[in-house]
């Protein structure tokens, strides 16, 4: 597995590292920035400042040493090994490492690494033994590595009183939490809450690609069921979903062909794929009882994720796009948006990102709703509409002056980038999932508790509408 893990700054200089096997010379990391450029697939090697333009594969080999890296903000996180390591595990570990460190200090960047180097060393020590990933669950780690981390935000606040000179560290009991070795590794016993509450959020993010004639090209719904629970003891929870959804879930787990079966039964099928459950869910019971039963971890967790393909889904917004080019000096872009859903539903925080050529000048807008803003570094105009009710239609026209020297390819290029939409809708989900019940039972304490359920539909990263 990994021999050493490095944190490097944006120019590839080491900030901090932890060696696990001592078989990589320091010269190897010094070569890293050079190798990044050498292995780059991009032609413009003269690439000015940033090393990374996404042209170098995340794994490469030099002189018998394998470099596995990822980028996070302006950092490189690099693992090196001499063996034919399980590269997938290493890379996933690096991702979890970033996640854990972010959990400890809000934002992981050069500055925060410097601020917290001693706790990072401690975490690196705990998360990997002899190059093999160990515990990467933030909640468990936080139970025993409790040095207060110095977050960038709290810079101005004086830290609390210290008990002993020289101790900025407040170690609680330094006993390994039972969770580390327990069979139910995700929950420690003896948790107590005043109120016993559980919140269930069904969140579906939609990726959709629509062409300029408002026809659906591809769509994908990524669903997650988030559970936020504040329950005492070791509660047993049972979640029931509507049968139609549950059946196709089970089919997808077993790998059966959902559609043909549903067709035989004469029902409209839901194509559920990639159903995954949090490790606390008893997988065996799902098939047998068609119920999702589990002992939840305390606090927040992602109980279940799934993906739905729904070829019949209608675009939620109809976009009409027109562009007029006045002899390469002035552009007029007209965008009309229509909310294509029932009037009683409304979407909030609609943002339409309209790509424009680079370096445009003095944009003028005419619009009948929301507000518009030019984002020069993204080369886009952002149209924000706070709330749009179903069936409503709004228009905006943007007049843009082009820079005197305009490259034709640049004009072509911006038209290739699709419009991007962001929005959020509450109260319904598009996949057809429904929560029937959520039962909470704690055999020893027998308390009353109230589950809350919310449905949210929102855009994912790629809700795109092509304009050409």
């Amino acid at each position: 597995m990994a021999s050493v893990v490095y944190f490097l700054d944006s120019r590839g200089r080491p900030l901090l590292h932890r060696d696990y096997k001592w078989d990589i010379p320091t010269s190897a990391v010094e070569k890293f920035p050079i190798l990044l450029l050498k292995n780059s697939k991009s032609t413009n090697v003269e690439a000015d400042s940033g090393l990374d333009d996404g042209a170098t594969a995340p794994v490469f080999n030099d002189d018998g040493i394998n470099y596995i890296y990822l980028t996070h903000k302006n950092l490189y996180i690099l693992a090196m090994t001499r063996e034919d390591a399980n590269v997938f595990a290493v890379l996933c570990y690096l991702h979890s490492l970033v996640r854990v460190l972010e959990g400890y200090m809000k934002s992981l960047e050069e500055e925060s690494i410097r601020d917290n180097f001693s706790i990072i060393y401690e975490l690196l020590d705990e998360m990997m033994d002899f190059g093999v990933p160990q515990i990467t669950d933030q909640k468990i780690l936080k139970e025993y590595i409790t040095q207060e981390s110095f977050t960038l935000k709290t810079m101005l606040r004086p830290s609390g009183s210290k008990k002993r000179p020289g101790a900025t560290t407040v170690f609680k009991q330094r006993v390994a939490p039972i969770a580390v070795t327990n069979a139910i590794s995700w929950r420690s016993p003896g948790i107590k809450h005043k109120k016993n509450e559980a919140y269930l959020d069904v969140i579906e993010s939609i990726d959709m690609l629509v062409n300029s004639r408002n026809q659906l090209l591809s769509s994908e719904i990524h669903g997650t069921i988030q559970l936020k629970s504040f329950l005492s003891g070791m509660p047993e929870l049972v979640l029931g979903l509507n049968e139609r959804f549950m059946n196709s879930c089970i089919d997808s787990i077993k790998g059966n062909d959902t559609i043909s079966r549903a067709k035989i039964a004469g029902k409209k099928p839901i194509e559920v794929e990639d159903v995954k459950f949090h490790q606390c869910v008893r997988l065996g019971k799902i098939e047998a009882d068609k119920m999702i039963s589990f002992i939840p971890p305390d606090g927040e967790c992602t109980l279940m994720t799934y993906r739905v393909h729904s070829p019949t889904l209608k675009p939620l917004f109809l976009i009409d796009y027109k562009m007029r080019n006045h002899s390469n000096t002035r552009l007029e872009i007209m965008v009309k948006v229509k909310a294509n859903f029932k009037p009683r539903i409304s979407a909030r925080r609609l943002q339409i990102r309209i790509p424009v050529p680079r370096d445009i000048d003095s944009p003028k807008y005419h619009y009948n709703k929301g507000n518009l803003k030019y984002l020069p570094n993204e080369s886009a105009v952002l149209w924000k509409i706070h709330k749009i009710d179903g069936g409503k239609e709004y228009v905006m026209i943007a007049e843009l002056m082009l820079p005197t020297v305009t490259d034709d390819t640049d004009l072509e290029k911006f038209r290739k980038i699709p419009l991007n939409l962001k929005f959020e809708m509450q109260g319904f989900v598009t996949s057809g999932l429904q929560v029937k019940y959520l039962k909470i039972r704690e055999p020893k304490l027998n308390y009353q508790s109230y589950p809350y359920v919310r449905y949210i539909t929102k855009s994912s990263d790629h809700y795109d509408v092509r304009v050409k």
């Binding site: 590292h17 594969a57 001499r82 997938f88 060393y121 070795t181 993906r307 290739k416």
Partner: protein
């Protein structure tokens, strides 16, 4: 208070003076800790001057280590980094660590583990001697964390000095073996990892798992933490099933892990399933839905961060080459997003190429054509190359592919034309006489071609089809005007092309003059021996007056065949076993990437079945064929033959025939050893030859 302000390089001597100054003051603890932090910062930055402070660090450790854990951890870090340079000081700290372990082993497990790990990291003899009894104690500890740490410590000892201290190793190994049947699976996983690491680098030891243990591990896997699951999955590769049933049972147990949230578990589960599928008769009859499950797992990995996507795709390529029957992928999943990173686009293109078949060709071509009109020149070139290769690969749809190329050609963008010129050569050879209109279109735009590879290709075409191209002589003449400045490869091709044209049209005066000119230039003015020798060779050949010169200079080209053997079985098997490891990224056998690694092979057992899972929609052999033909354009053939050129001058006509075939850039023996390039050909196949 943040520590960022401490994060600067300080001279070690300054730290030392500071240390001395504060020693006498009250509350020196606070200051010492700050100073220690400064030392660690310098260590992090890689400033090794702080080595001289070793004795002070050890002193601080003894003074404050028991009270302040942060101080202790920093001192430990210092020692494991620099023990080599200050062995004396390190040994003096050993007493502290041993005591630290002993007094914490009952109360604070974490501290005990840290002490144990630190002792194991420092590979001095005194440390190892001290560690062995501690480990015995640790393996019998009631706490699983301590037992787990102990297991890793054994591997660390082995890593450092197998030779130095052989006496204790059987005992240590025995302890590890005992840990394999520990009640706690996390400990078992740690022991498996350690043993795996120990056996990896030595031939003397071999790790194998028996049936009961394998079953027990797999069944218990659900209850252990995620990374242990990865270790256990990996360890299952050391189990050799002796009958079909057990392999099937294990696959059944592992299948759910394909859906795991941790992508590393998902991919390792896939690897194990592929491995066990070797031990089941007709795995697809036993698990008819296996392709769906695997594909679902893959499509899921495609939603992960780009780095993970990349790794997943490399392994998809591996599977597509060897066992496409196990996959049932939707090609649309691999269509490029405009904002994908370059290496992602690259890999996606390879997969699209592999997945393309008659059924989805329309879809694929529309997509590729879109890429070919993008801004990024690299991407454009690669997609054009892919279209051309598809034309050769899938005969029934070649017409569609070529018409797309013709479409692109009509745009007259230089790099598009260059790329099409390169790929046209293969298409013409594969389908002689079918797509001659491509030649005309290319010839019309010949002035736009500047790049050497493309030039070579168009010159070859001009030579080969000179009689049917009206302007061929004029064009060849044009090219020969800059003959001296061209690259060697282009020069050689031009020479051969002119000779070919001449033998086809022996009475063309213009050509005759051209031949004379060019032979004179090559023989008199050129310093490159390869080129000069070839010129001489042609000259002698022409003056020999042999009757069948045309057969030598322009023999009938063998058509490109699709039935070349696929990758050798043993290599494909080995690559299967490498899934998810680094070798899978490079698509090469382990031996080539890691010289001292043991090659992996399938162990023999009564249950081993080598079944053919390659008969899916994909025609593999063809793909391989493309691989070797792509090497062609590098003309490596010539240089490998030129050494023996002179000896062959005393030729029999048969020999000459051999040679000219090489010159005409046909697959030659030298290329057949492309096996030694391993699968890397695939990686290079779409990349540009620069």
């Amino acid at each position: 208070m943040g520590d960022a302000k401490l994060y600067t390089r300080v001279k070690a001597s300054d730290i030392l003076t500071e240390l001395r100054n504060y020693e006498k003051k009250p509350r020196s603890g606070v200051y010492q800790k700050t100073i220690l932090k400064k030392i660690i910062v310098n260590l992090s930055i890689g400033d090794n001057e702080v080595i001289i402070l070793a004795s002070d660090v050890v002193r601080i450790l003894f003074n404050m280590g028991y009270e302040d854990l942060e101080v202790k951890n920093m001192c430990y870090l210092y020692l494991i980094t620099y023990w080599k340079h200050c062995p004396k000081e390190a040994i003096s700290a050993l007493r502290f660590m041993v005591e630290d372990y002993k007094r914490n082993s009952d109360t604070s497990v974490i501290d005990a583990c840290a002490a144990l790990k630190t002792i194991a990291s420092i590979q001095l003899k005194a440390y190892i001697d001290a560690l062995t009894p501690l480990l015995e104690d640790a393996f019998n500890d009631s706490n699983a964390s301590i037992r787990r740490t102990a297991a890793y410590c054994v591997a660390m000892i082995f890593k450092s000095n197998e030779v130095e201290n052989p006496g204790s190793s059987p005992k240590l190994l025995q302890m590890l073996n005992d840990a394999l049947v520990d009640d706690d699976l996390d400990v078992v996983a740690a022991a498996l990892n350690s043993l795996g690491d120990i056996t990896l680098n030595t031939d003397k030891l071999k790790l194998s798992t028996d049936k009961e243990h394998a079953l027990k591990l797999t069944e218990g896997m659900a209850s252990c933490q995620e990374w242990c699951q990865v270790s256990i999955l990996n360890a299952l590769l050391t189990f050799v099933p002796q009958d079909h049933k057990i392999a099937a049972d294990l696959i059944d147990l592992i299948l759910p892990y394909l859906q795991s949230d941790n992508s590393s578990i998902a991919l390792n589960a896939l690897k194990v399933i592929v491995y066990f599928s070797y031990y089941i008769n007709n795995v697809l009859d036993v698990f008819p839905s296996l392709p769906q499950s695997i594909s679902a797992a893959i499509s899921n990995l495609m939603l992960r961060p780009p780095e993970v996507q990349f790794l997943a795709m490399r392994n998809v390529i591996l599977l597509l080459l060897d066992k496409p029957a196990l996959l049932d992928l939707d090609i649309r999943m691999f269509f490029c997003q405009y904002d994908d990173l370059l290496y992602i686009k690259d890999t996606k293109l390879e997969i699209i190429f592999l997945l393309a078949n008659e059924g989805n060709m329309d879809l694929v071509l529309t997509e590729l054509q879109e890429y070919a009109m993008e801004i990024d020149i690299q991407m454009v070139r690669k997609s054009i190359r892919a279209i051309g290769n598809l034309a050769v690969k899938i005969e029934p749809t070649s017409e569609k592919c070529v018409s797309v190329l013709a479409d692109l050609l009509s745009e007259s963008i230089p790099y598009v034309i260059e790329e099409i010129a390169i790929i046209t050569r293969d298409i013409l050879r594969k389908y002689p006489g079918t797509f001659d209109y491509l030649i005309d279109m290319l010839v019309d735009r010949v002035s736009l071609i500047k790049e050497s590879d493309a030039k070579t290709s168009i010159i070859w075409i001009l030579g080969e089809y000179s009689s049917s191209i009206s302007k061929s002589v004029t064009l060849l003449k044009q090219f020969s005007e800059t003959f001296v400045e061209e690259s060697t490869e282009t020069q050689l091709t031009l020479l051969t092309a002119i000779m070919k044209a001449h033998t086809c049209q022996p009475y063309n005066k213009e050509l005759h003059a051209l031949v004379e000119d060019i032979l004179e230039v090559t023989i008199v003015d050129i310093d490159n021996p390869d080129l000069r020798e070839r010129g001489l060779f042609y000259w002698r050949l022409l003056s020999s007056g042999l009757p069948n010169i045309i057969d030598i200079i322009k023999p009938r080209l063998p058509t490109l065949k699709n039935d070349q053997a696929a990758l050798p079985n043993h290599m494909r098997e080995e690559l299967d076993l490498c899934m998810g490891s680094i070798a899978s990224i490079y698509l090469r056998p382990v031996k080539q990437v890691f010289r001292h690694c043991k090659p992996r092979t399938l162990s023999d057992s009564p249950a081993l079945v080598r079944q053919d899972l390659s008969n899916s929609r994909l025609s593999n052999p063809l793909y391989n064929n493309r691989r070797s033909t792509l090497y062609r354009s590098r003309s490596s053939t010539l240089s490998s033959n030129s050494g023996s050129f002179r000896s062959r001058m005393a030729f029999t006509s048969q020999r000459v025939n051999d040679l000219t075939i090489n010159e005409n850039n046909q697959p030659s023996p030298a290329e057949n050893n492309s096996e030694s390039h391993g699968l890397s050909g695939i990686m290079r196949k779409l990349s540009l030859k620069k």
